[in-house]
């Protein structure tokens, strides 16, 4: 049964991948293509966040710091020194991964909600610093020059190449996540999330593995930030370092399903679509109606499906298994009760 569910999962992912490859050919409207790019980019951020926030259970609300670092690093290198953005993007990722050690050093000594609050504080400090930093454009921000375009300079006049870039980056991030999930690191991260004291008793250096998760997460978040800069051609502290951005990364994961591979992708499809739809339909009023509706929908989802879309779906599958089991044989009643208990338990987590 496990193998059939695994095959189903592979089949579903292949269908999704095929759909992602076909979308640019089918979608002609520039605004819908832009929505698709936004979905992919938010999904990539959610998947990155999920490494430390989902698997390791360290809910960071300061990831915008890494996003901004990436965006600023590649843009400054390009603007000030003419460094190719491909190199700049990589440097931004590495810089964020290195600086995340300081981030982790200061925040990981706190647990749970206190950790989350500390991450907000660190990210706010970073934002204030960039707002005051004259060389980095301060509050005015930075423009990415359009003088050299094409794949070599990761700079395009049309949207389509950004779609491929966002898709490629998402796939790479997913592949790394998939590898982590299956390696011993993935097991260690889940152990740290479930029972940190017990994890230590079996030799897991929890500080080290939390930091490894944070550094990998920071690396990919920063690359997402660089991509944003190359796509929007303009960054300022508010657009790449705001706490709202950090919250969005966490929300995408939480709504989709924390600690699952595809949860953040599903979360991004739901959340980004709602966000953009409410903005286009209700955004013109200038009274923030779109934000109110957006927030209300998030609350509704969080109240009714606390385990996210993936958790909700798994619950349905479990219930179906349970029903077939009780229908086929009465003698298996006890085992199905155990499965039912597991399903209920899974729903509560």
């Amino acid at each position: 049964m496990i193998t059939t569910t695994r095959m189903k999962a592979v089949a579903i992912s292949l269908v999704c991948l095929a759909a992602a490859l076909v979308i640019p050919a089918v979608v002609q409207s520039a605004s819908y293509l832009n929505l698709a790019i936004l979905v992919l980019m938010a999904a990539q951020l959610g998947v990155s966040w999920n490494i430390v926030g989902g698997y390791a259970g360290q809910v960071s609300l300061g990831h915008a710091a890494f996003y901004g670092l990436g965006a600023y690093c590649s843009t400054l290198m390009l603007v000030k020194f003419g460094v190719n953005p491909w190199i700049g993007v990589l440097c931004g990722g590495l810089l964020a991964a290195i600086l995340s050690v300081g981030f982790g050093w200061s925040c990981f000594r706190l647990k749970g909600h206190y950790f989350a609050m500390a991450t907000i504080a660190v990210a706010e400090l970073v934002q204030i610093w960039f707002t005051e930093w004259e060389y980095g454009g301060a509050a005015v921000g930075l423009y990415v020059p359009m003088d050299r375009t094409g794949w070599l300079w990761m700079n395009f006049a049309t949207k389509l190449p950004y779609y491929w870039l966002a898709l490629g980056l998402l796939l790479i991030t997913l592949a790394v996540n998939w590898w982590i999930e299956r390696s011993y690191i993935g097991y260690y991260l889940r152990a740290i999330k479930d029972e940190p004291d017990a994890a230590r008793s079996i030799g897991v250096n929890i500080a080290r593995y939390k930091q490894i998760a944070l550094s990998i997460s920071a690396f990919f978040t920063a690359i997402g930030g660089s991509l944003y800069a190359q796509k929007e051609l303009y960054i300022d502290p508010n657009s790449v370092l705001s706490t709202a951005l950090s919250i969005k990364m966490a929300l995408v994961s939480i709504l989709g399903g924390v600690g699952t591979l595809f949860g953040p992708v599903i979360g991004s499809v739901v959340l980004t679509t709602i966000e953009e739809l409410t903005r286009t339909v209700f955004g013109g009023t200038g009274r923030g109606t779109d934000t109110i509706i957006y927030a209300t929908l998030i609350i509704v989802i969080a109240v009714f499906y606390p385990t996210g879309v993936v958790g909700w779906w798994r619950n349905i599958l479990r219930r179906r298994v349970l029903n077939t089991a009780s229908n086929t044989a009465d003698s298996e009643q006890s085992s199905s009760q155990v499965a039912g208990a597991a399903a209920v338990k899974g729903g509560q987590v």
């Binding site: 390696s183 079996i202 030799g203 897991v204 597991a342 987590v349």
Partner: protein, 237 residues
């Protein structure tokens, strides 16, 4: 030579002395029971040996290496495994994954860890639970799962914190059987226990703590006739 040599260990929390000048030894393959009334300092001593609290003074030698003050993960690497009063199984994992995670201290390969985990599950009579979520298992099963998990790091000594508490007589027997099998593997056990019927028949040595001090140390028969032990358990006449 003694496998574990705890000598003159004291642990103070501010003005409160939880352990004072406690010394004892555990030989290779021995089952040693650590008993005493509530608040005697058993769990504190246990936490000192496992690295969860650094002792205020004294040394804890494991096979010639001083492990006093090492972190829990360093103690685990040195060969000390432990269980907790509440099982603390990894609730998002299956039974097999719980044990696999521990086996990964020995091998980073997931498939090797799985093979090792299945052996330890069988050892604790839990092989048919391998794919069950740990959270769906009974307390007794989760305790044995925690023992299997602790054994998967291939320790030289296993510290068991009240594995038998709250179990019914047949479950106590299952737990006792597992402890005896552990001794057959050449692994020493240090067992904090309230269930004296469980520990007395199988222990090679019993150490009795009262108000942080060691008041008796000997075979179960010697200890149970010791007047100091009787007065500690029953109060002064």
């Amino acid at each position: 030579m003694n496998l574990l040599d705890v000598s003159h260990v004291s642990k103070r929390f501010g003005g409160l002395t939880a352990n004072e000048d406690v010394s004892f030894t555990v030989d290779k393959g021995q089952i040693v029971g650590l008993i005493g009334p509530n608040g005697a300092g058993k769990t504190t001593l246990f936490n000192c040996v496992a690295g969860y609290f650094p002792p205020s003074s004294g040394t804890i030698m494991l096979d010639g290496q001083n492990i006093a003050g090492l972190s829990p993960e360093a103690c685990a690497r040195a060969g000390v495994a432990r269980t907790f009063q509440i099982a603390r199984t990894f609730s998002s994992m299956t039974a097999c994954e719980n044990v696999m995670t521990a086996a990964m201290l020995i091998t980073r390969s997931v498939s090797h860890a799985r093979a090792s985990a299945m052996r330890w599950l069988a050892f604790a009579n839990l092989e048919h639970f391998a794919d069950k979520p740990a959270a769906s298992m009974t307390i007794s099963e989760q305790r044995r799962l925690a023992v299997a998990r602790a054994l998967a790091i291939q320790p030289r000594i296993l510290l068991l914190d009240e594995v038998m508490a709250g179990l019914n007589p047949s479950e106590v027997k299952q737990a006792v059987d597992v402890v005896l099998k552990i001794r057959d593997q050449g692994i020493s056990s240090l067992i904090v226990e309230h269930v004296l019927e469980g520990i007395m028949p199988i222990a090679d040595k019993i150490i009795v703590l009262d108000r942080g001090r060691k008041i008796a140390d000997g075979t179960p028969r010697q200890v149970s006739s010791d007047p100091q032990v009787i007065s500690a358990y029953l109060g002064d006449a």
